[in-house]
């Protein structure tokens, strides 16, 4: 077996992808700010450098292990580089640590303390503060705390197939943000918050709402009802030093009651309800052969992606509201009736592992009969803060049971929190409905760390159902492309935006790893295995709800309260059809660089296309998109056969056509 010499010890290695992994295996931890095991190595923070003597310092996160390589993990050289890097980062950082949401969990703060950076010799660069972006329900971006590690840029691109954040500018003016300095709300951000999860500092955080919850609890005129999502129960314990994946639902119930909850319910109840609706919907589509594959609709980030990028797939989305929304609707509409309350008397709080659920709760569609379904959404992290600030000793809390009736749930519901779980739960109920028998073999098992797409085929008494489950929207986009190209065919596709599913959501502990997420998923799987009732259609409380209020799945009442519809969010509705001109007589280039784009180059191009179409010249004049003529002062610019024309706004195109393009047609320069 090949081996390396680390700090004088021989360490064997097998499939470790970099020197860093080998060092950590050998018990020598190295600091990292820009390294995440599920992202491509970046090598920017310089913290993980190791001393390879004459070969210089090696970036251990990106260099693969080599047989016989001799390195030291801590020498005068590595220490000098690490300390200087930290001091330089701190000098450019907003050091208002005490009021930072990441105080205590910030990696930069931890390293600065660990390496003894006790003073900063350079002038602070934070005198002119950059604007904080908190104009959306889910994410707060504070560029003053950004250390430019690029984790957010990579996670957005590599896992979600988006490029919401990227670097701009040069030298020490470099910054990370959306294109054209826009706010997250104004771009196609899906609020999954994975950027916040991988941010080592307080530059990107999930927008907190727990103050509103305390306000409601203290107000006295509202009855505060909590619902707790499945992934929270296996994620909260970690924040109090417990083993990752440990189910702490009993302590959660107890903590929320102590803080003054009127009722503590389980989102799992709504998950079972979702399955009743979704399985019925699925079987109907399967029967009719329409709108297949059915895409699940529990994940708000996926929903926003579909609305933005795949409006043509919206009919394929399940019309079921997400469990969070179903819960809110049931609690406000039916539970209040049972209790003799009015919908406005209750304040529904969701505890979610997710930042996008905050966005979801504020969507316009998220109301029933004009009443908001959910009033506040807090994350696993926020719940931990509430527990600590309330002065509860979490580890000592007794285990208590959920309230009834919206606290009853089955094993099928709890696995909603990890990739594959929703499909498995739907399959269990669909199988029963199709065959009259319970599905005996579990199709779904927890995914291996980093496994993003899984496909399965189930034979239900001769009907073969093909299922795909995907986590990460980059993988989802690839799969959708394959489906659209006809390379793959499925009946049911489950999509969750976060790697590993909701257990890896942005509401959970930040700076975690795929390994930790797998342990949480295992925790959910164990809860399912240990349940006596493991199918949604056997949830007695759910059946009772149908009996009393909803009659049956997909009934008119169920549709009104539990289903929804989506519409396209595409910002550019029609595509411009550009014909390929083999031998263009005239070439018109339209600049779509930053300035011109912002000043309407896209409309210019559309208009130009329209004019040429009207003149029947699309096969003579070639339209090309191009970049920067360096005449940004007069943007938008176009060039006709190389002649740059400024201020080519949409309304001037006809004029430009008449004065610049028409004459060329007449002079016969077409024949050149």
């Amino acid at each position: 077996m090949p081996s390396m010499i680390i700090n004088g010890h021989e360490v064997e290695f097998t499939d470790e992808k970099n020197i860093l992994d080998v060092c950590r295996k050998a018990g020598f931890d190295l600091p990292t700010l820009c390294y995440q095991d599920h992202l491509s190595p970046f090598g920017a923070c310089r913290m993980c450098v190791v001393d390879a003597g004459k070969r210089g310092l090696l970036t251990s996160c990106s260099v693969p292990p080599e047989n016989g390589l001799e390195i030291q993990t801590s020498t005068e050289r590595t220490r000098r580089v690490r300390k200087m890097s930290l001091e330089l980062m701190l000098a450019a950082h907003d050091r208002e640590c005490l009021t930072c949401p990441k105080s205590g969990t910030c990696k930069l703060q931890d390293y600065a303390e660990r390496f003894g950076v006790d003073s900063v010799r350079f002038i602070s660069r934070n005198k002119d503060k950059k604007e904080i972006d908190d104009h959306n329900p889910s994410i707060v971006r504070d560029p003053n705390k950004c250390i430019l590690c690029g984790n957010c840029v990579r996670v957005c691109f590599e896992h979600q197939g988006l490029h919401i954040l990227d670097f701009s500018k040069r030298g020490s003016n470099v910054e990370v943000g959306p294109a054209f300095g826009k706010m997250l709300n104004d771009v196609e951000c899906i609020f999954c918050g994975q950027c916040a999860t991988v941010c080592p500092t307080g530059a990107i955080t999930v927008r907190p709402e727990f103050e509103n919850v305390f306000d409601a609890l203290y107000s006295g005129d509202k009855k505060v009802i909590f619902q707790v999502a499945p992934a929270v129960r296996v994620g909260l314990g970690e924040l109090f030093g417990m083993k990752p994946g440990r189910n702490v639902e009993g302590k959660i119930v107890s903590a929320l009651r102590k803080m003054g909850a009127y009722k503590v319910f389980d989102t799992n109840f709504a998950a079972d309800l979702t399955i009743m609706e979704e399985a019925t919907e699925f079987l109907k589509r399967l029967d009719e052969g329409k709108n297949l594959p059915l895409f699940t609709s529990c994940c708000p980030s996926w929903i926003k992606t579909a609305e933005q990028s795949y409006p043509e797939l919206l009919p394929n989305l399940s019309s079921c509201r997400s469990p969070q929304r179903m819960f809110g609707s049931v609690a406000k509409k039916y539970f209040t009736k049972e209790e003799g309350l009015k919908p406005e008397d209750v304040f529904v709080v969701s505890v979610m592992p997710c930042s996008a659920k905050k966005f979801e709760a504020q969507r316009e569609e998220f109301t029933t009969d004009g009443v908001r379904d959910v009033d506040a959404v807090i994350t696993t992290n926020e719940l931990a803060r509430m527990i600590r600030s309330f002065g509860l000793d979490f580890l000592e809390l007794p285990d208590e049971d959920w309230d009834s009736p919206l606290g009853e749930s089955t094993g099928a519901a709890v696995i909603f929190g990890a990739t594959g779980g929703v499909a498995e739960a739907a399959l269990r109920t669909a199988y029963k409905k199709m065959t009259g028998r319970e599905l005996e073999n579990q199709v779904w098992k927890p995914a291996a760390p980093g496994e993003s797409v899984r496909e399965a085929e189930v034979d239900i008494d001769g009907t073969v159902v093909r299922i795909a489950t995907v986590n990460g929207l980059a993988a989802a986009r690839r799969l959708i492309d394959e489906i659209r190209r006809g390379e793959k065919e499925f009946h049911l596709v489950e999509i969750m935006a976060c790697p590993a599913g909701c257990v890896g959501g942005a509401g959970q502990r930040a700076n975690d790893s795929l390994e930790l997420r797998a342990q949480r998923a295992k925790g959910l799987s164990d809860i399912d295995s240990n349940k006596t009732v493991r199918q949604s259609h056997n949830n007695e409380s759910v059946l009772e709800l149908y009996k009393t209020y909803l009659s049956e799945p997909n009934s008119a009442e169920a549709h009104h309260s539990l289903h929804t519809g989506y519409s396209s969010r595409r910002r550019i509705e029609e595509d411009i059809e550009l014909s390929e001109v083999a031998e263009p007589g005239i070439c018109v280039e339209v600049c779509v660089g930053t300035n011109c784009f912002q000043k309407g180059a896209y409309d210019t191009m559309k208009k130009l296309n329209g004019v040429l179409r009207a003149e029947g010249l699309l096969d003579v004049v070639d339209i090309k998109a191009t970049f920067c003529f360096e005449k940004c002062g007069q943007s938008p610019n176009i060039a006709v056969n190389g002649k740059v024309i400024g201020n080519a706004t949409c309304d001037r195109i006809q004029e430009i056509f008449d004065s610049e393009i028409s004459p060329l047609l007449k002079t016969g320069s077409l024949n050149k």
């Binding site: 090598g43 920017a44 580089v81 200087m84 980062m89 990227d166 670097f167 040069r170 030298g171």
Partner: protein, 622 residues
């Protein structure tokens, strides 16, 4: 016309030579420098007087006189240059109005116009031919041999001068391994600065697994004042393309990119023309010279980032990403453009390849020193009498370059230092004048050849200010990826600015030294690793100047404004008040007919009063 076989190429060469035969050739330089000095108008006038330039490409005309435009001769400050081949004359600083006289007296009557000859600034002696001029006499122009001597827009001229013979030899007589071993034994090393043995690099890419491979020409020359690659591409683009094709054949690539800065429009245009002609002749494209070797090349214009000269950043740029370097390994040889094995060499490196295959590895290895073979081009600038583009054998000393080729320091000032290798290089002093310029010797003294910039400084250059200048450049050009380069160079610049503005302390010098070491040792890519070089080397050889700045508040070169002090000589001042009126800071006051006084606190040290005083009553005191 497709040249379909090796034999056909030989025929085409004969034909081209026959066609281009002439009694006299008038060569007008149209390199960027001469164009800036107005050479296009000179060319235009020649055309008017001699008939269209196209004559030169056609069959014989009666008189046997041809006109052609060429690339750079290197002696740009004396441009526009006009060379008359056949009479062995080179005229300098030719204006359009001189053209009539040249045609009349020189071309028609064989007379020499002394006024247009090169005149040595030291003794006023005149030089008629290029070879005699001291600037050229010590040079050995091999990679630049065609620059200034052929029309770069006419592939026939290149073919006539043995162009594409090396490619023909490679394709018909050599295996890829033989080519690589020939390049290896020639001792050619990367001319972009790194100095990595070229043949070995080719070997790595050839060995790398993968069907698809790429060749990239790195023409993102960004060092301030350097223009070696630009001149080669402007003057002899086919040599680079031929070298690239040979490399592609040797490593098994069928596609290549020429990455050229967009700020070099002429180089881009000439290279594009050359590619078009090579395609037309079948020297690029499919089944080149009748073999099954295919090679397609594209030009990618760089968008103006210095860091894109770093190979991984350059690759990212071609791929359409932000030009940010990646940490190595993996090296481009294994995972380069679009993840495929990629060979990336500098323009000049490729430019040397055809000659090596034509004349043999031994010929190339006969020039230079033990470990640095061949010749190297340098852009000689700064305070020397002759500035320009030069090519000398490796191992030539700085003394030869500065005092013989460069003709010594301007205005008989004293030589102080030379910054070699641009912003990534280091400064060398008097003690290094006899150091042979090659990769190893320079490395030993903390400098590098880099791409070949040579900025000569005299005693009136402040060394701290020089370091500040280069640090400003690297800080602006840092991609901002790694902490040490992004933030470290900024802080180094801050300290240098503090020192040159008179506010520096001893602690600042210590912090600067500490930062230099950390940035050099810990940065991700070559830009950051070499950014502190100007500071490190200047501190090594001129520490006393740094100390003078912070302790004695003195700039011995008189460059740093902050240390200047102006005073009115009371006895000379007539009290006219002019100085008070022109002072932009309102720092001068006084009563009419009485001596005026400068308030040192408000004085911005611009020196306007000194220049403006009609009685020379204001003096700079130190």
């Amino acid at each position: 016309m497709i040249i379909a076989t090796v034999e056909a190429l030989a025929d085409a060469r004969k034909e081209a030579r026959e066609k281009l035969k002439s009694r006299l050739r008038v060569l007008v330089c149209t390199g960027t420098g001469c164009v800036a000095n107005g050479s296009l108008k000179v060319l235009e006038r020649f055309k008017e007087l001699m008939g269209n330039e196209a004559v030169s490409a056609d069959s014989h005309d009666e008189t046997g006189i041809r006109l052609a435009h060429t690339g750079c001769h290197g002696f740009c400050e004396h441009g526009p240059l006009v060379k008359i081949e056949g009479m062995n004359i080179i005229y300098m600083k030719v204006h359009p109005e001189d053209v009539d006289e040249i045609v009349d007296r020189t071309i028609n009557n064989g007379e020499i116009i002394e006024r247009l000859l090169y005149r040595d600034p030291s003794d006023n002696s005149l030089f008629k031919s290029e070879e005699e001029i001291p600037f050229y006499a010590k040079q050995k122009r091999t990679s630049l041999k065609n620059c200034g001597n052929i029309n770069p827009d006419n592939i026939e001229e290149y073919i006539a001068r043995d162009g594409y013979a090396a490619l023909a030899r490679a394709l018909s007589e050599m295996t890829p391994d033989e080519i690589i071993s020939e390049i290896t034994s020639s001792g050619l090393r990367g001319r972009g600065g790194g100095g990595f043995p070229t043949g070995i690099k080719w070997g790595f890419v050839k060995k790398a697994s993968g069907e698809k491979k790429y060749v990239i020409v790195n023409g993102d020359e960004g060092d301030p004042g350097a223009f070696m690659d630009r001149s080669l591409l402007e003057g002899d683009p086919n040599a680079v393309i031929e070298g690239m094709a040979i490399a592609a054949y040797a490593i098994g690539a069928d596609e290549g990119y020429l990455y050229i800065r967009a700020e070099y429009p002429l180089a881009v245009e000439r290279t594009r023309t050359a590619i078009g002609q090579a395609l037309e002749y079948g020297l690029l494209g499919e089944n080149i010279l009748g073999t099954n070797f295919n090679f397609k090349v594209r030009i990618k214009e760089g968008a103006g980032a210095f860091v894109c000269g770093e190979e991984t950043a350059l690759i990212a740029s071609i791929e359409g990403h932000r030009g940010m370097p990646k940490s190595k390994p993996p090296f481009p040889a294994n995972e380069g453009l679009f993840g495929k094995p990629t060979l990336i060499n500098n323009v000049e490196t490729f430019g040397n390849v055809p000659s090596i295959l034509r004349k043999g590895a031994e010929w190339f290895a006969s020039m230079g020193t033990e470990n640095s073979k061949g010749t190297k081009t340098f852009a000689l600038t700064g305070q020397v009498n002759n500035t320009g583009l030069i090519e000398v054998p490796m191992g030539t000393t700085l003394r030869e370059i500065i005092f013989e080729i460069g003709g010594g320091i301007r205005n008989n000032k004293k030589f102080k230092a030379v910054q070699i290798g641009g912003p990534s290089g280091g400064c060398l002093t008097e003690e290094h004048l006899d150091l042979p310029l090659d990769y190893e010797s320079l490395k030993q003294v903390g400098a590098m050849i880099g791409s070949g910039g040579l900025v000569v400084m005299d005693e009136e250059t402040c060394i701290v200010d020089m370091a500040r200048f280069f640090m400003n450049f690297t800080q602006n050009e840092s991609c901002g990826k790694c902490v040490l380069c992004r933030e470290g160079t900024r802080r180094m610049l801050e300290i240098l600015e503090k020192i040159t503005s008179g506010l520096g302390t001893r602690e600042d010098i210590d912090t600067l030294a500490e930062l230099s070491v950390a940035v050099q040792d810990g940065s991700l890519c070559g830009l950051g690793k070499t950014a502190p070089n100007p500071v490190i080397s200047s501190m090594k050889y001129f520490m006393e100047e740094y100390i003078e700045h912070v302790e004695e508040h003195k700039c011995r070169a008189g460059v740093c404004q902050a240390f200047k002090k102006f005073e009115v000589e009371p006895l000379e001042c007539k009290g006219c008040g002019k100085c008070a009126r022109i002072c932009p800071a309102g720092a001068i006051s006084g009563k009419p007919k009485e001596p005026y006084v400068i308030d040192q606190e408000s004085c911005v040290r611009c020196g306007a009063c000194v220049a403006g005083c009609p009685f020379q009553a204001i003096k700079e005191v130190s």
